[in-house]
């Protein structure tokens, strides 16, 4: 005979709200940069505190000379569903970037320079990774004015204390 054991009931409790996030942007392609910006902006829209930490090629998103020239990666990107050699055709990345930007504009997602301004105005603090800055031989003057500081990994963790860390 089978005996049915009664499952222990756990009192329903409200899940805790996220109050703070620190988002790392490590890639320099259009599709590598946008998710972090959208998540940072979305956090602020929910009243969540948000920091952005740019590292490696993610620094392109805050470099004065590059942040308006970010392109979709058409080579080595299986999401393109195209043979690699097609993605390598000169001008193909520019074309894919134009198409994606047009689609984004349609759903009201701003271009990267405007998005950087939007998140900074929303209270997101922007930081550049010290190790990468040193490696590339950059200074704070290479970055857009919204960038608050160049900080080490240790300082990043200090600032992220008490929050969630998201790596993109």
């Amino acid at each position: 005979m089978t005996e049915l054991l009664e499952q222990q009931k756990i009192a329903p409790s409200e899940p805790e709200m996220i109050e703070k996030v620190a988002i790392v942007i490590s890639k320099g392609s259009l599709e590598g940069i946008y998710p972090g910006l959208i998540m940072a902006n979305g956090a602020r829209m929910e009243g969540i505190e948000a920091d952005l930490f740019f590292t490696f090629f993610g620094l392109d998103a805050i470099r004065k000379d590059r942040y308006d020239k970010i392109k979709v990666a058409t080579v080595g990107n299986p999401g393109m569903h195209l043979p690699t050699w097609v993605g390598a055709i000169p001008g193909f990345s520019a074309l894919a970037t134009r198409m994606m930007k047009r689609q984004m504009e349609k759903i009201d997602i701003p271009p990267i320079p405007e998005f950087i301004e939007l998140v900074a105005d929303s209270g997101v603090r922007l930081y550049a990774c010290k190790a990468t800055v040193d490696m590339f031989g950059l200074t704070i003057d290479d970055f857009v004015p919204q960038v608050e500081d160049i900080i080490s990994v240790g300082e990043f963790y200090e600032r992220a204390a008490g929050g969630q860390i998201i790596f993109t």
């Binding site: 602020r44 009243g47 009201d108 105005d121």
Partner: protein, 105 residues
């Protein structure tokens, strides 16, 4: 959806307290929702944002994005967050008696 009393008026709200019927809204309800969400007094600047959100929703059926709010409401992004620290689009929608904005931007 539940029925509740806000500023002595019976209104239908969702689980998060957003009015589900924008027709049931009035200015006293707006004041009461604002007070409950940490805004003790709605200034002219608050009203500008709340009315922009509401009118845009009533005209188009969707609440504006934060980008549109910053560009077109007459209140810049920085000030929006000073007025509504817990999220301008969300809170202005709640105070304005329209559903919670569903967009990601």
């Amino acid at each position: 959806m539940t029925m509740t009393l806000i500023a002595d008026a019976p209104v239908d709200v969702d689980a998060e307290g957003f009015l589900t019927d924008s027709e049931q809204w009035n200015e006293e309800i707006a004041q009461a929702i604002a007070a409950e969400n940490g805004i003790s007094e709605l200034t002219d600047r608050h009203w500008l944002v709340v009315r922009f959100m509401r009118n845009r929703y009533l005209a188009s059926g969707t609440a504006p994005s934060i980008r549109a709010l910053g560009k077109e409401s007459g209140v810049p992004i920085k000030e929006l967050y000073q007025l509504f620290p817990k999220g301008p689009a969300k809170l202005a929608a709640k105070i304005g008696g329209i559903p919670k904005p569903t967009g990601c931007i």
